[in-house]
């Protein structure tokens, strides 16, 4: 976290422009900021949750719909004590070569379990939350899926949330 690292370039530059040109109106743009919420307790006592758009789901649950032209607006609960062997990925819109060898590169469930055991965080919510990042109706996405996951995160009494938009 040094000043010079601010120069770091993203590996695939111009991603927003590319996606927005190909799928006009699919990208979310905001001009206002949400006021920060703050931790009410030390991190070492806080219950952490994880929200991912990588399409990771417990084996045997209804696969995410990668065929639908307008996207999938559902989510899955992934028990936070799952092992990677019990999970699978249903998503084709991001490179999954690394994840297929070690799921932790996109869904670091084992690392999060270790942080809880080590006491860096107070604990994990019973479930993590997973969906696929392919929705051609951003308004519907914000109205339904985003709110449903936010409510589920509250229901699991999370004190903090780590998110990973794949």
């Amino acid at each position: 976290m040094t000043a010079h690292s601010n120069e770091a370039q993203q590996m695939r530059p111009g991603l927003w422009e590319t996606i927005n040109e190909r799928y006009p109106g699919s990208m979310i743009t905001k001009d206002d900021l949400v006021p920060l919420a703050h931790l009410s307790k030390p991190l070492s006592e806080a219950r952490l949750t994880f929200v991912s758009s990588a399409g990771v789901q417990p084996r045997g649950t209804m696969p995410f719909d990668v065929a639908h032209p307008i996207g999938d607006y559902s989510f899955r609960r992934v028990p936070s004590n799952s092992s990677p062997a019990g999970l699978e990925i249903h998503q084709i819109k991001y490179p999954t070569n690394g994840a297929h060898r070690d799921l932790n590169v996109i869904f670091p469930i084992e690392r999060l379990q270790e942080l809880a055991v080590a006491g860096v965080v107070g604990g994990l919510t019973p479930n993590f939350f997973s969906f696929i990042g392919y929705q051609m109706d951003p308004a519907r996405f914000e109205r339904t899926l985003a709110e449903e996951i936010a409510e589920a995160v509250v229901a699991e009494r999370a004190d903090a949330a780590l998110l990973c938009p794949a």
């Binding site: 993203q10 931790l39 490179p95 938009p165």
Partner: protein, 95 residues
Amino acid sequence: MQRAIERKGIPTVSITVARDVTQHCQPPRALFVPFMMGHHFGVPFHRELQQRIILAALDHLVMARRSGEIETIPVTWAQARREGKAIEQAIGQRD
């Protein structure tokens, strides 16, 4: 999504490999990593790096004072790949 959770009073932080996309959605806190898409926490079997990315994000979650700030971390994809390869050789995941 992230904004919806933060609005419910739960502090959030996201990990992004697309700084430009993140700048458009304006989440309250984000950590940018210059990694390949789909590899936000680094490379396979590199536990220490995966852990370090999470810890940097959690650090930003605790320390951020201004909404919309995108934090960075001094890592490079080339170095992550090099280290990942060495780790895989050591544990016999690669010939």
